[in-house]
C-alpha cells in the first residue's frame, strides 16, 4: 500500500491515536489526511470568509449550502472542481465531476434543477488543448443531458497557464422544501446504514491523493484513478433517492465522493456525535479480492450512504428494489463515538471519527511572487491600434470574449421546463420555481487575468462581477459558493496568491453583506516539468432571487430610439484587460473593485429594473464598454451612437474609456421618458450615471468624442467575428 502521509504526520497520528494504526486504519487516515479531504493547508484561511446571512439555512461543512427563498422553498447550491481527472481523461473526468455535484445537491433532499460550468483551457491553436476542450464539453453534455438536468450557464477562459492543467468547475442548484431538508449526519444509535448504488471497485482508489499532487510522470502510474461516468444509472439513483426521502424514514444521507466510505462514515458520525459500525463483507463489490483498506477508500461512482430509521427499512428497500438498484445493508449507527469496521466478525479498524475529520492544519509559508515585480506599476500602451473599429472586431474574435454558442448548443438547457433565460440571452441563467411567480438567477465568474496581476482585487472583482451578472437579470443577490483553483500550496508564492485571494473575496462579501454557503479547494494545479501553476482562480457562483417574473431583464437592445445609460464610473484601469492582452500583453494596474461603488450601482440597477424602467441591461466586464455595447447590439439587432465624452470618468484617453474593465458598471437601455427616473434613482443611491447615447436601426455601433466619430462598427460584421471566435478552431 502506498502511503502519502509525511513522517511528521505519521507521528502526529500515533500521538493522537495513542498507538500504531493497523494497515486498514492507516489507509483510512492516509486518505482523510490528504489535502483534498482535509483542507489542511487552506482551512485557516477559509475561516475568514463570511458565511452567515438571514437566508442561510445550511452553510459550509455539509454536502451543499442551502438558502431560504421564502414560502417554504429552499435552494441547495454548490460548486466543485474536477480538474485533475479532466486533465488526463477529459471526457470521463468532466462527466464524473457533474455526477459528483449532482449527488451533493440530491442528498439534501433537493431536486437538482440546473448545472453551470466554468472552464479554463490553454489556447485553442494547440491540438492538445482542442482535444481537452472538445472532450470536456462532450463529457458535460452527455452526462447532464442523459440524466435530465439542464446546463444553463457558465464561463470560459483561454490562457497558456491552463494548458497541462485545465480547470473544470461545475456548479449545481436544486430546489426543495424547508421542512424536508436532510443532512449528512448520523444522530440516532440503532439507525441502519445502507449503501446504495454502484458496486465498489478499485477504480478511483487514491483519487484524492491523486488530486493532492501535481500532474507529472507519476500520473502515469496513478492512472487507474480514472472513473467512468454512468448518467443513466445516475438518473435512476436520483429518482430512487427522492422517493426514499419522501417516506421520511431517512434520517441522514451523504454521497460518497473523495475518501469514499471512510469519509462518509467519519463525517456523518462526527457531525452527530455518535459512532458507526459496518461489516465490509456486506458491501456489494465489482471485483473479487479487494483488500479491506481498498473497500474503505474506493471512490467508485454513483454511491450514497443512507441512514434509515429501523422501522422504515423494509419500505425503503422496497423502493430500491422497484428501481432495480443494488444496495447493501452494511451496518448501524452506534453510541461508541468510534468508526468500527468489521470483517468476518473481527474488528479490523476502530477509529474515533475526529482523527479522520479534524486533521491538524498546516501553516504554510507565503511570499509575494517574483513575477509580480517584473510588471511595472506604471503601464503604458505601447502599441495602440490606430483603427478602433478594427480593434473592436479583433476583441470580439478573442475566444475568451467570443460567442460560446459552440459550447452551449451541445447542452440541453431547457429540460425540466424551468429555464426562463437561456444561455446567451442575458448575463445569468434564470430558472422559474414551478407554480410560483418566482425565479432564481445563477452565474459563475472569475477573471484570471486580473487575479494573476492582483489576487486581492481580482477576486474582489470576481465576486462583484458574478453578483452584477445576476443583478442585471432583476435578481436580488442572496449567496455565493466558491471554487478555489491554485498551484502547489507548499510553494510560498502560490500560498501568497491563495491568501490574498481569500482576503479580497472576503472583503467584497463583507462589504456587500453576501454570505458564502459552500466551496471547494483544488490545489496542485501545477505542471512540475515547467513549474507553471495555473493563474490563481477562485470561481464564484452567485445565486439570486427574482420575486416577480415580470422583472426578468435580458441584454439585447429592444428598440430604436431608446436611451443608452451607463451606471458607474470608468477609471484608468486597463491593466490585465482583454484589450491590453490583445495589443500589449499583460501588466499594469487592474480594475480595483470597491464594495461601496458596487453596492451603489447594483442598488440603482435593481431598483430601476424592479420599477420597470429598464429595457435591456448588461454588466460591463471583459472588453469594457465597447464590447458590452457590441454584445447588446449583436443580440438585439439594433445599433447605437454613443458619445464617450459623457461617460463618468477619471481619464480622457479613448482607449481607457472604451476598453477599461473598471468594476461597478452597467450599461442599460430605457425608454426616453424613463431616463429622468433612472437618473434620480442613481442619484439617490450615490451611483455615478450618465446618458451617453441612443439606439437606432442603422445597423452600426458608433462611438464619438463630441462630434468626432472614433469608431464605427457594423453589427453584421461584429456578429460574424463574435460567432467565429471559437468556432473557427473546430475543424
Amino acid at each position: 500500500m502506498k502511503i502519502n502521509l509525511t513522517s511528521n504526520e505519521l507521528n502526529q497520528v500515533k500521538i493522537l491515536l495513542g498507538r500504531e494504526p493497523n494497515i486498514v486504519e492507516l489507509g483510512m487516515i492516509d486518505v482523510m489526511w490528504s489535502e483534498h479531504c482535509s483542507y489542511k493547508s487552506s482551512k485557516l484561511e477559509l475561516k475568514k470568509i463570511p458565511t452567515k446571512g438571514r437566508r442561510v439555512i445550511v452553510g459550509p461543512g455539509f454536502d451543499s449550502g442551502i438558502v431560504d427563498l421564502g414560502d417554504g422553498d429552499v435552494v441547495a447550491f454548490k460548486i466543485e472542481s474536477h480538474n485533475h481527472p479532466s486533465a488526463i481523461d477529459p471526457y470521463n473526468g468532466a462527466a464524473t465531476g457533474i455526477g459528483g455535484i449532482i449527488r451533493d445537491i440530491l442528498c439534501t433532499n433537493c431536486r437538482p434543477i440546473a448545472l453551470l460550468d466554468s472552464l479554463r483551457f490553454g489556447k485553442l491553436e494547440k491540438g492538445h488543448n482542442r482535444w481537452l476542450f472538445q472532450n470536456v464539453i462532450r463529457g458535460i453534455a452527455d452526462y447532464g443531458n442523459c440524466c435530465g438536468i439542464p446546463t444553463v450557464a457558465g464561463e470560459i477562459e483561454f490562457d497558456p497557464s491552463f494548458e497541462r492543467n485545465c480547470l473544470v468547475n461545475v456548479a449545481c442548484s436544486g430546489i426543495g422544501k424547508k421542512e424536508n431538508i436532510v443532512l449528512g449526519k448520523m444522530e440516532n444509535p440503532g439507525d441502519i446504514l445502507v449503501l446504495l448504488g454502484g458496486s465498489t471497485g478499485r477504480d478511483g482508489i487514491h483519487g484524492v491523493t491523486f488530486a493532492s499532487k501535481t500532474i507529472d510522470e507519476r500520473s502515469e502510474e496513478d492512472r487507474p484513478s480514472v472513473q467512468v461516468g454512468d448518467p443513466f444509472m445516475k438518473k435512476i439513483v436520483i429518482e430512487a433517492t427522492l422517493e426514499a426521502l419522501s417516506t421520511r424514514y431517512v434520517r441522514g444521507l451523504k454521497d460518497l465522493g473523495g475518501g469514499g466510505l471512510t469519509c462518509a462514515l467519519s463525517e456523518m458520525s462526527d457531525k452527530g456525535g455518535v459512532g458507526a459500525e459496518i461489516n465490509i463483507d456486506k458491501i456489494h463489490i465489482r471485483e473479487a479480492d479487494m483488500a479491506p483498506f481498498e473497500l474503505m477508500i474506493s471512490e467508485s461512482q454513483e454511491r450514497m450512504l443512507f441512514v434509515i430509521k429501523p422501522e422504515g427499512l423494509n419500505k425503503i428497500l422496497k423502493i430500491f428494489d422497484k428501481w432495480e438498484i443494488k444496495y447493501s445493508i452494511i451496518g448501524k449507527v452506534t453510541n461508541t463515538k468510534k468508526v468500527v469496521v468489521k470483517k468476518d466478525k473481527q474488528i479490523i479498524a476502530s477509529l474515533p471519527p475526529k482523527i479522520l475529520t479534524e486533521v491538524p492544519p498546516i501553516r504554510r509559508k507565503s511570499r509575494k511572487p517574483n513575477y509580480l515585480k517584473k510588471f511595472p506599476k506604471k503601464f503604458e500602451l505601447k502599441q495602440k491600434p490606430k483603427n478602433l473599429s478594427q480593434a473592436i472586431y479583433e476583441l470580439l474574435m478573442m475566444p475568451t470574449i467570443a460567442s460560446k454558442q459552440y459550447i452551449y448548443q451541445q447542452y440541453d438547457h431547457e429540460v425540466g421546463i424551468r429555464t426562463v433565460i437561456r444561455p446567451g440571452e442575458a448575463d445569468a441563467a434564470v430558472l422559474r420555481i414551478l407554480g410560483k411567480n418566482k425565479a432564481i438567477a445563477m452565474k459563475t465568474d472569475c477573471n484570471s487575468f486580473h487575479t494573476y496581476l492582483d489576487p486581492y482585487y481580482g477576486h474582489a472583482g470576481a465576486v462583484a462581477e458574478s453578483i452584477r451578472n445576476i443583478v442585471v437579470t432583476g435578481a436580488e443577490p442572496i449567496a455565493i459558493a466558491d471554487c478555489c483553483n491554485f498551484g502547489n500550496p507548499e510553494n510560498p508564492e502560490v500560498f501568497w496568491q491563495f491568501k490574498r485571494s481569500i482576503d479580497g473575496l472576503s472583503y467584497m462579501l463583507n462589504g456587500l453583506d453576501i454570505p458564502c454557503i459552500g466551496g471547494n479547494v483544488s490545489f496542485y494545479n501545477e505542471d512540475e516539468r515547467t513549474s507553471t501553476a495555473v493563474k490563481p482562480t477562485i470561481v464564484i457562483a452567485a445565486l439570486g432571487l427574482i420575486d416577480d417574473l415580470n422583472h426578468i431583464t435580458t441584454l439585447g437592445l429592444k428598440e430604436s430610439n431608446q436611451a443608452i445609460i451607463i451606471i458607474g464610473k470608468t477609471y484608468n484601469e486597463i491593466g490585465g484587460s482583454q484589450f491590453s492582452i490583445r495589443f500589449n500583453g499583460i501588466g499594469g494596474k487592474v480594475a480595483n473593485a470597491k464594495h461601496d461603488r458596487e453596492k451603489a450601482s447594483m442598488n440603482a440597477v435593481l431598483s430601476s429594473i424592479r420599477k420597470g424602467y429598464i429595457t435591456a441591461s448588461h454588466d460591463c466586464s471583459k472588453g469594457g464598454l465597447a464590447i458590452a455595447l457590441a454584445k447588446m447590439a449583436i443580440n438585439g439587432g439594433f445599433g447605437a451612437i454613443v458619445d464617450i465624452k459623457k461617460i463618468p470618468k477619471t481619464s480622457m484617453n479613448p482607449y481607457e474609456l472604451l476598453f477599461s474593465e473598471s468594476h461597478g458598471r452597467f450599461i442599460v437601455s430605457s425608454r426616453i421618458e424613463d431616463v429622468g427616473k433612472i437618473l434620480k434613482i442613481c442619484k439617490d443611491n450615490n451611483a455615478s450615471v450618465s446618458l451617453i447615447g441612443k439606439t437606432n436601426d442603422e445597423g452600426t455601433i458608433k462611438f464619438s468624442i463630441g462630434k468626432e466619430t472614433i469608431a464605427n462598427c457594423e453589427i453584421k460584421k461584429m456578429r460574424k467575428c463574435w460567432k467565429n471566435g471559437i468556432q473557427k478552431y473546430i475543424n
Partner: protein, 88 residues
C-alpha cells in the same frame, strides 16, 4: 506493396467501469434467461485497410495513427491492434 486488414479493438481498461456493457448485461441478457453468459464488455471496433510492407509494419502504422490522432485515450482505454493476412 500488399494491403493488410488491420483490426483495432478499443475497450475501457480492465479496472475501469463499462456502463454500456453492464447495462446490456443487466437489462437484456440477465433478464432474458441467458444464464450461461456471465459478463459483457462493450467497446469500439475499427477495420482498416492498410498498405504496408509487412503485417508488422501495418500494425505499427495503425498504432502510431491511433496514438497521434487520439483514436483512443491511453489513460482509460486499452487498444488491441491485430493485422490479418494480405487481402489482395
Amino acid at each position: 506493396m500488399p494491403n493488410y486488414l488491420v483490426e483495432v479493438i478499443i475497450e475501457n481498461k480492465k479496472l475501469a467501469k463499462d456502463p454500456e456493457g453492464e447495462t446490456i448485461y443487466r437489462e437484456l441478457i440477465n433478464k432474458s434467461g441467458y444464464d450461461e453468459i456471465l459478463s459483457v464488455r462493450s467497446g469500439k471496433y475499427l477495420r482498416l485497410n492498410v498498405n504496408a510492407q509487412s503485417k508488422n509494419d501495418a500494425e505499427k502504422i495503425v498504432y502510431k495513427m491511433c496514438n497521434d490522432l487520439r483514436i483512443y485515450n491511453p489513460v482509460v482505454h486499452s487498444c488491441k491492434i491485430v493485422a490479418k493476412g494480405n487481402i489482395e
